[in-house]
């Protein structure tokens, strides 16, 4: 269960504005990446985002470059989940692999505004906002297992340890 404050953005939020290309080949720890999160879209984000906040986007969130830092920087900034009408496939994978929940929601996102409170119930697959409930489908088992283990690297370490 997550309850957080909404940061609202539009359609086609690309990975260049989430994490600019000029930083992508510089060695950086996740905490430093968080300082540049959303830099070219919303310069106020990195300074004001709070642990547990939720990003709400339109369609095709995370399109463009495969840069994984776009997911890593949001996770490190404290973002608890990203809700969008649809996601680009590479960002979707990167988010899961970084332990950042991504929720596809066709209905409801238009009504969510900056500063609103949303809650996400993963067990029931429900997003709640201002008295409304929106259902989202569960992730496939093998994908959910990665998210539940906190990301791909801890997941693979666990699997490799089990298989000895």
């Amino acid at each position: 269960m997550i309850e957080g404050k909404v940061w609202k953005y539009g359609d086609d939020v690309n990975t260049d504005v989430i994490f600019p290309g000029k930083y992508t080949y510089q060695p950086m720890e996740p905490e430093e990446m968080a300082d540049h999160a959303m830099e070219d879209l919303d310069p106020t984000f990195a300074g004001e985002v709070q642990e547990g906040d939720v990003i709400v986007g339109g369609k095709n969130f995370g399109c463009g470059s495969s840069r994984e830092q776009a997911a890593t920087c949001l996770k490190a900034a404290g973002v608890a989940a990203v809700i969008a009408k649809s996601f680009s496939r590479i960002f979707f994978r990167n988010a899961i692999n970084n332990g950042l929940p991504v929720i596809e929601l066709q209905k409801g996102t238009d009504a969510m505004k900056k500063g609103d409170t949303v809650s996400i119930d993963f067990e029931q697959g429900l997003v709640r906002h201002e008295g409304n409930e929106y259902h989202f489908p569960a992730l496939p088992g093998e994908v959910l297992a990665i998210l539940e283990d906190g990301g791909l690297i801890p997941h693979v370490k666990k699997v490799l340890k089990k298989s000895g």
Partner: protein, 423 residues
Amino acid sequence: MGMTFAQKVLSKKAGLDTVAVGQIVQIEPDYCMSHDNTAAIAKTFAKIGVKKVKNPERFVIVLDHTVPAATEKYALGHQQIREFVNDQGIEHFYDAGVGICHQVLPEKGFALPGRLILGSDSHTTTYGAFGAFSAGIGRSEMAVLYATSKIWLKTPASFKIVVTGRLEEPVTSKDLILKIIGELGADGALYRCVEYTGEAIEQMSVASRMVLSNMAIEMGAKNGVCLPDDKTTAFLDGRAVNDYTPVFPDAGAEYERVLEFDASSLAPQVAKPHTVDNVTGVQDVAGTKIDQALLGTCTNGRLEDLRLAAKILDGKTLARGVRMLVLPASQEVLVQALAEGLIDIFIKAGAMLLNPGCGPCLGAHQGVLAPGEVCLSTANRNFKGRMGSAEAETYLASPATVAASAITGVITDPRDAFSRSVA
């Protein structure tokens, strides 16, 4: 029931008779590509706790994004990658200067029909031009591939895009793909495999097909495939690293959508800032002043692109106030361009020649933009801030449009300049 190209490749790789759309399969890719991001991937790999890369012969590493190193930090990354490939016995390593990964893999014969290739770069879709199933992945996934060789993939639904007629020079496959993306939108083919087919595709060169596959990701596609033919075979003769069996979709394959485009009536297209699907005919933006013209990148840095631009620029000079950057996609392209005198034409026109690489396309180094500046580029992305300042603007167009506009200093329909050049 017949299967699409994507279903056939994925079922074959998964060892299954058939796979349904949406089905998740565990597979081992034939080849995996990474570039300057290998330094970060190697660090993540170390965290997994596996000492040696499994199947090092399946990994191809190309340094291209920030070459030669622009800063000490980049240099350090390159140094770490060289040590990593030596320690791990990764033989398919192409150091700075050889070219852009998406040009190098085809030239070195890794991009083969029927192969499944994954890369930690979104434009890995380029190898679809050779009938390969190729898609981008993230860095953590590449690190896990080092450790296990395995990854999960979801079987995509497929679109068939039929392109009738023939492209008429100087209109190119870049104009065609911009038109397609403009119509479908940046998420128009989200998660789909796109099969390009029809007379225009059959007629065009392998290099032109690479533009279509390269930019499939810009409409959200997982991959964009052209079916292999005699032209593919001719390109791969003497290059292919091993034998290959092409994979074709079944006649009764099911497509979610079938779309038709006509190449013969197509005008030059331009994508306006700041999204790739913000496309219009060149006439609508003609007269827009430009500061920089960029010819190159994994989209349009091949020999036929340089030839077309040189034809228009031959004997001309750049407009006052315009700087032009030329980045051949690879050493092989550069050597051939030198032999044909193309580089001579560019330099005499006043352009700057940069080494093969990604350069300014992603704003990491070489020719980045100041606030308020406008770049007309042959690249594949025009996102806000991508080429430097978030206050700069990038327009995308074909090599012909970029060359014609560099002469006038404003966005210009290349058809007049082209017809004068061949008259």
